[in-house]
Symmetry: D2
Subunit: 347 residues, 4 copies
């Protein structure tokens, strides 16, 4: 049994991790920390876990996280940076669901997150935890910077196009029109996330620059091995879970004869959690609700030179906690889908 600890389990990625790990046959939950909820039974905060998770939140100072085999950080940026060095030194594997180890360039991190990066050596070592791209590196990693929710859809959506030897599309002008359920904003008391504000409503946000933009550009460039350009417009959906990304790319004249459907099917043929749907499909967010599957469809409206990719995931699962468990399975040599067999809940 893998002894697992969670730092910062009072948010949505935290409770989703608890749901998944409590059902995982090879995991023993041993500690969950919260500065503000020390002593509270987890199931008092999250009644959905009554009789299933018997842990109590404990103050980070009291929790013996260094006795864990793996520790997940489901925390605001800065926390994993501060606490992970000691854990890694103690031989604990660390999976950070936050942003501390995503951007490889410390200056970029400082620009987008407003704080200096204090662990540049660890940052250099950290592996970006996107299994479909980095599986081999994850296998031997000590420290994982897990992708953000939007970036997972954008990278897995564009990857087959960019991973070819020569460009198929105008890589300088990629467009990602994305929309996320409100849970992506976390369990924070903010007026903009109130039901009375966010339900029965739709809007763009972060148009000037969202933190998931530099992360995605970095990831896409790593896949392509070439510079890319991306316009990313996120929108807020009046619902809890689910991300839908509508991706646009202009096909280059030389690539007009490409069979893109076949390209995608081939690229993801062996992936347990990526479902390339049949031609003509329009994936729905609910078709992946509460599961670790990402579905996508390839379109070329009117047979023209604009390629359109439709990508859906559950932002709390494949976009966060499920991907974290998938990565853990890889790190510990377990079957990659162990404990992740939940069938999507629909309707």
């Amino acid at each position: 049994m893998i002894k697992a600890g969670i730092v910062g389990g009072t948010g949505y990625t935290g409770v989703e991790l608890l749901r998944l790990l409590a059902q995982h046959p090879q995991v023993e939950l041993t500690a969950i920390t919260s500065r503000t909820e020390d002593g509270l039974a987890v199931s008092d905060l999250f009644p959905s876990l009554r009789k299933r998770v018997n842990l109590r939140f404990s103050d980070p100072a009291k929790a013996s996280l260094e006795t864990c085999d793996v520790v997940f950080f489901a925390t605001p940026h800065g926390v994993a940076m501060a606490q992970s060095p000691a854990l890694i030194a103690a031989g604990v594997k660390v999976i950070d669901l936050g942003a501390d180890f995503r951007l490889k360039d410390a200056a970029e991190f400082e620009k987008w997150y407003g704080m200096a990066h204090t662990q540049t050596a660890l940052l250099a070592e950290a592996v970006y935890g996107l299994p479909e791209v980095n599986r081999e590196k994850i296998r031997s990693a000590r420290l994982i910077g897990l992708p953000g929710c939007y970036p997972t859809t954008m990278q897995l959506g564009f990857a087959p196009l960019l991973a070819q030897g020569k460009p198929l599309v105008d890589e300088a002008h990629l467009i990602a029109n994305s929309a996320s359920g409100v849970s992506g904003a976390g369990r924070k008391a903010e007026v903009g996330s109130l039901l009375s504000e966010a339900s029965d409503n739709f809007k763009a946000y972060g148009v000037k620059g969202h933190r998931h933009l530099p992360e995605t550009v970095q990831g896409l460039q790593a896949i392509a091995g070439r510079p890319i350009g991306l316009t990313f417009i996120p929108h807020l959906l009046p619902m809890i879970r689910g991300i839908h990304s509508t991706l646009y790319a202009r096909i280059l004249p030389d690539a007009m004869d490409t069979d893109f459907q076949a390209l995608y099917e081939r690229h993801y043929a062996d992936e347990p959690f990526v479902d390339v749907m049949p031609p003509g499909s329009t994936p729905e967010t609910r078709s992946v609700r509460a599961s670790n599957t990402l579905r996508l469809a390839v379109h070329r409206p009117g047979g023209g030179d604009t390629l359109v990719l439709l990508v859906v995931e559950d932002n709390l699962v494949k976009g966060a906690s499920g991907q974290a468990v998938q990565v853990m399975n890889i790190m510990f040599g377990l079957p990659e889908d162990l404990g992740l067999g939940q069938i999507p809940v629909s309707p």
Copy 2:
């Protein structure tokens, strides 16, 4: 033109008052105060009011509220109590949408609201602003304590039964099973009101004792002229606007032959904002959305001795701001429905 001011216009009853007053043909909005938003254009906070309301929020200290003809308080309890004496002394009529002048017994107020009542003389003078019950007193009032949202549905729902000379139902065991949209909780950043918490969910709350219970008991006793007993269980609906109260009363043996439908139709025959629906109807909250109408239906399932009343209102209109405008019209001798002709928005 009536010069109107609003204290505390940054919440939902505030913005709804602005919507209604900006369309009122006899009202000139002259001031709206907010300590935190001093100087901000109202339409910057509420883009729905762009090009329709040109006011800016001003600090209470700067706003010349005493030059208004009427001032509405859309504030947490305590504020109207503190500021209204000076306004009333200056000849300004005051309509408090909050709780300061609802409970006639200062001890009850202190028990439920956790603060002493400092204006007991004004409290004695204040008129409870439920037009269908207190129309004549409202006409000459200087100070109005406007009913809460739930109490309006419960009182107008039970009133025809209780207003008879002798009891028709077991008045000691009335039951009100109510449900409200989340906007009733106000525009406050609280975790429980987040879309991710309150949507796709339903629960009771305040079962031990909700502040609208003593207010309603007081009102029902005033209508009946006798003691009454009430069990009130509020619930939270996964939607923004609307209150639905399902009221239960046991018919007394002597009253089994009563034609309750006729009783209700007669009682409300001349009311512009109360719609007694035909037998067999099930009023929907959306049928009154964004309007000042309250609809109700009278049922007697299986022809037995349990009477069931179904009552709906828009909690922000008839349950708050619309009722405030209705009361203002009465106080200033205007047609009671002036500026309140909005047809419900459906779907």
Copy 3:
């Protein structure tokens, strides 16, 4: 492995059965019938099941249901009545999620469902599939009439009160104020269930008499061994899944000293799927979403003589398909919770 077939799998209880059975370690799904969708891959109708359920719908005439060990009917009333005799004769156990075998009185069935009951011998034999009440009879049953969604909450909510030797409450005047998500209406194209009609809205329905009333009265009387009287008012919630029943009972003078919390905890101490919450709790529908758990809380507002019970379940799981699997486990001598370990999905 238990060979399981489903008749009528194109509705919501059907797809939920598929989700649960596909994850059940002792079940092999062998057939699913649909007259209208013959030949269609199940996962083409329900993309949430892609790569998890490989069956195709087949015409009832072609499906060899008699080779199954158990057949579930997720059909409108009348279908199970027509098809189950042949299956039972062939030694197949039948679990009817519909209404054909719920009401023991054929005349009552005809009155509420508008068709004669053609299988009165089977009706007499059929066991009402509520495990917490009928576990022993279920163990040896050949034919199960599974409870409706609302009746499960009402019966499990009132059962501890009624199962005592002498009455504790006024059993002639029980009240059930219930509310259900729209999935309870099924996957039928009806205007009233459109998102544009049912979302952002709340209303009562079926006030004159809902089909779940006679079923519940029958069940409660069986539990009490005495006549009972019930007023049942269902309401439609603007959400997909979840039922919340608020139950009211007047405590008899002799029973005023009863410790109702203890009574409920004792009654359900050994039940795997009933969670009696601590005093003061208000169970939320989302706390049981997509799981087979029913949670309830016991209240006595103001310490008076009105007892209030708050009960929640997922109408598609404990209210239908999960309960069906629970019953199947009992019938086949499996652990009662096998394949039903899903943790509620929240948020």
Copy 4:
């Protein structure tokens, strides 16, 4: 007073027309037809109109529509084509909210709508009812083909760019990523529009070709006086009302110095129903709910060569019935905003 009739008033654009016309100071509603609901009081079908609209539906054969001054068609395609010639011959002005008179090319109409166009002379005469583009032609029109809901956002969003003498953007590769509330699908009993299917979900649809594509291309080409190319991907939002279009255009090298914000503000300076928001704004659909206002914002992420326009409207008002009233006002020489002063309902 203008005598107005409505053909096909049982859908959502019909009830919204009724809401607006019943509040219009210069309109007298004289007839509303429905083949299926002959004799039914309008307020029995739409309780929101109780005590406000006293008409009954009448069979088209009985209604004397030719005595109206104006008749609105809120019908499926084909109906206005069949009935409008006689009305126009009788001197009645016709405003078709449906699709019969939108596409100027009869062959295109037949291709997209699957029926031959039988009124090609009227089609040639019909004016496309987009006031901000066609105001002068509308003034003297006898027959209006009112724009679709999506096309209104796309055309008003792109118009200032295209209306310049020389191209500013790559007009062959415009992209419109749009999302609409479910009311856009109408009040039709279809499984895909059920709350249980469409709520808590998001997906693209009509990717292969939506009927609003040829209409929009035709309109944009008329504005530009040049051929244009458009990729249009509509999506379905889990809410009732509101359309949000996110428009993308690549700025041409020669136009990189353009002040697009100023261009848009200038273009719409005198428009009563188009609100160009300040730089950096992200318009919300709720900010126009139940009103005839369209709001838009101009963005240029990262200062690059991709221009992004965010456009919102209420699909039932500016996207349909409100625009119809605006057009009627123009046709009858009334102030353009008469009866359209509703302030958006928010929250």
